[in-house]
């Protein structure tokens, strides 16, 4: 048991009283089954081959208990009833969950400073599997089927001048698998842009290693053609005092499902996860993120904002933040905001916060979905601004909060133009 000093005493903090049997200072003791494999983020070698967190037949009582495996066979065929698939229209996955993913994967073209190493490697490269382990069937399917991976390494202490651009161009709509590994070595500073476009049906695994003291931003842009289907698991392992910024921008594609995660492996890490999406009629844009506070004194901040317009525009945001018992001194916040611009659009927003220790700095979650505020519109219109311009001003302002965090001027400009196009499309 942790010693409790007076400095630590705070509202809600445990007292020095003996605990009731079966209870710890934080409440009821959880089932030992769930504890068994919750120690380290990737849970070491044993788990690398296979793990059933919640135990066979026991529903997950914690996000930590989710099944993870590199083997497709370990994941049951999807029915759509699963918690993490319940919002996804499986019929529109075009086989990513069921077919052999042997189509041509999107081509990868990387522009980077000379010091940055870009390699194309086979499945047996030892860096594969260092940061990620599939958490769902579609991700495992890609893991089992990818033929080669792109590994991008930013050398230690290297401060990249300008961003590393990774352009992924779809090669058609045969279901395919893609694998990327991004390694930011110790004390390096860099920005990596994953720029997805074209037509593709692809399940993608992106492994991200942010070593001690490194600062890395990964910006994943989904500006696919209308027919694209894209599932992307982007898992990051965060080292001591490392800073990781992850930005997801989903604008184009029929179905885009991005599942980013950040796992702290040593104290002092900071993570910022931001997202922007604009769903049009018929589009399904889904984001499910996971922040795993597995160690003490780390900080995370999550903000996803989306606009939706048109019939059956559907956005899904699920934010899981887990603060484990070991993660004392954690400071975390997550929020999702949706703006419904027309009738017939739907936003599902589920912020989940699990806290296993009371000794934290802060933990908050928030979600709000609404229409444009009539009073905002009235105010702007009462100053002579026509309704359509007023609506655009408000939506633009709403989404720019995310865009301005990108800090790559060329991409900011491009996204501002993309948002304008979206707004012009239905005269909002």
């Amino acid at each position: 048991m942790t010693d409790i000093t007076t400095e630590k005493a705070r509202i809600g903090a445990p007292s020095a009283q003996p605990f009731i049997n079966g209870f710890t200072e934080e409440g009821e003791s959880l089932s030992p089954i769930n504890f068994a494999e919750s120690k380290s983020p990737l849970a070491g070698e044993a788990v690398k081959s296979h793990s059933h967190g919640g135990g066979v037949g026991i529903p997950d009582s914690s996000r930590a208990g989710r099944l993870t495996s590199y083997k497709l066979a370990d994941f049951k065929p999807l029915t759509g009833m699963e918690e993490d698939w319940r919002f996804t229209p499986l019929k529109r996955l075009r086989g990513l969950h069921s077919a052999v993913l042997n189509g041509t994967a999107p081509s990868v073209s990387v522009t980077a400073p000379d010091a940055v190493t870009v390699e194309t490697v086979g499945r047996d490269d030892k860096r594969i599997g260092t940061a990620a382990i599939p958490e769902d069937r579609v991700s495992a399917n890609a893991w089992e089927n990818f033929s080669e991976a792109t590994v991008i390494t930013v050398p230690a202490e290297f401060e990249a001048d300008g961003e590393i651009n990774v352009v992924l161009t779809g090669q058609g709509t045969d279901a395919s698998a893609q694998h990327l590994v991004i390694v930011a070595r110790k004390f390096s500073k860099s920005v990596v842009v994953l720029d997805h476009h074209g037509s593709a049906v692809v399940s993608e695994n992106v492994e991200i290693v942010v070593e001690d003291g490194a600062e890395l931003s990964v910006i994943s842009l989904q500006e696919w053609n209308e027919d694209a289907v894209h599932a992307s698991s982007q898992q990051a392992k965060i080292g001591r005092d490392a800073k990781f910024k992850h930005i997801v921008v989903s604008l184009g594609g029929d179905l885009v499902r991005v599942t980013p995660s950040a796992r702290f492996t040593a104290p002092g890490g900071e993570v910022e996860m931001l997202g922007l999406y604009f769903a049009d009629a018929g589009q399904h844009l889904e984001q499910r993120l996971f922040v795993d506070h597995a160690v003490a004194n780390c900080k995370s901040n999550v903000l996803y904002k989306g606009a939706l317009q048109g019939r059956n525009a559907h956005a899904v945001w699920v934010g899981d933040v887990l603060i484990r018992k070991e993660a004392e001194g954690t400071d975390s916040y997550e929020a999702n905001r949706n703006l419904l611009l027309t009738d017939g659009a739907r936003a599902d927003s589920v912020p989940n916060l699990e806290i296993e220790t009371g000794l934290i700095k802060g933990a908050g979650h928030a979600s709000a979905t609404g229409r444009l505020d009539d009073e905002h519109l009235f105010y702007l219109m009462a100053r002579g601004i026509p309704e359509d311009v007023a609506r655009r001003l408000v939506v633009r302002g709403f989404l720019h909060e995310i865009i301005q965090h990108i800090k790559v001027p060329a991409i900011e400009e491009r996204l501002i133009a993309s948002v304008e196009r979206e707004l012009a499309a239905t005269n909002n």
Binding site: D373, M381, A382, R383, I385, R396
Partner: protein, 265 residues
């Protein structure tokens, strides 16, 4: 020379208890260069009149008319009214997140004038106007009204009044919640705009305090959705001394007012 004419205006709102009539036949004519003060107790319909002129969707005009130089204002949308020259300084200006003051002011000015203002003179004008109203320069970078105090919001309303140069300014309790210093600053702004000689002003207030700084030509007393008394600036002085009690509706209230007068004597 412009004229804003309100004739026999009846306005109602929808409440949970059903339709409620708030304005019960209001007539008022304002000409360029004039300042009209509308005074009255809480709930008398003063703010409803202001919002109705600006076109707030909550208020339904059931009969009567509002015209600006003969044009039917009620047929215009909210933004058309503003472009026609009607400006409402709001009682509770809303915060508009994500829209910077700079962007907002320029967009509005462009909409009102029908062309974008010349960048160099515009920036200078905005800066000068902000300075005169003692608004910090960094407000320009902030989002519209976001995190502004009550007094700051009111000053920003007057800033817009000075920059947009409307034909008619309606000030909806601009004085409420202001300390004396802020009240002076705001009043000076209104007087500057008025002094250009191209604006008529409708000043709505609960208190006579602001009338020490902005001199009305006409005073209208509003009670229960109607104008019950009209006069010159001397009427405001009388109200300051006597309050609204003598306008209290119904014989019972009149008796109470009389009784309290006796008690005071």
């Amino acid at each position: 020379m412009s004229t804003l004419e309100i004739k026999d205006l009846h306005v109602s709102i929808e409440t949970e208890q059903g339709t409620k009539e708030i304005l019960k036949g209001v007539s008022l004519t304002i000409k360029t260069g004039q300042t009209h003060a509308i005074m009255g107790p809480n709930g008398s319909g003063k703010s409803t009149l202001a919002s109705t002129i600006a076109g707030h969707p909550r208020y339904n005009v059931t009969s009567g008319s509002i015209t600006l130089d003969g044009e039917d204002v009620l047929a215009m949308s909210v933004d058309e009214r503003a472009r026609a020259g009607v400006f409402l300084a709001m009682q509770y200006p809303v915060e508009v997140p994500g829209v910077s003051m700079t962007n907002f002011l320029r967009t509005a000015k462009t909409a009102i004038d029908g062309e974008a203002p010349k960048l160099r003179t515009w920036t200078k004008d905005v800066k000068a106007a902000m300075q005169q109203l003692r608004i910090d320069a960094d407000f320009a970078q902030r989002n519209v009204n976001e995190g502004f105090s009550g007094g700051e919001k009111k000053r920003v309303e007057i800033l817009q009044l000075e920059l947009f140069k409307p034909k008619f300014a309606i000030l909806d309790e601009t004085d409420s919640g202001l300390d004396v210093d802020a009240l002076k600053v705001v009043s000076e702004g209104v007087n500057r705009a008025h002094a250009e000689g191209k604006m008529g002003t409708l000043l709505i207030t609960h208190y006579t305090r602001i009338l020490r700084y902005i001199k009305p030509d006409f005073v209208h007393v509003f009670v229960d959705g109607q104008v019950v008394e009209e006069g010159g600036p001397e009427l405001a002085d009388r109200l300051e001394e006597e309050g609204y009690d003598r306008y209290a509706t119904g014989a019972g209230a009149a008796t109470i007012a009389a009784a309290s007068a006796v008690a005071q004597a």
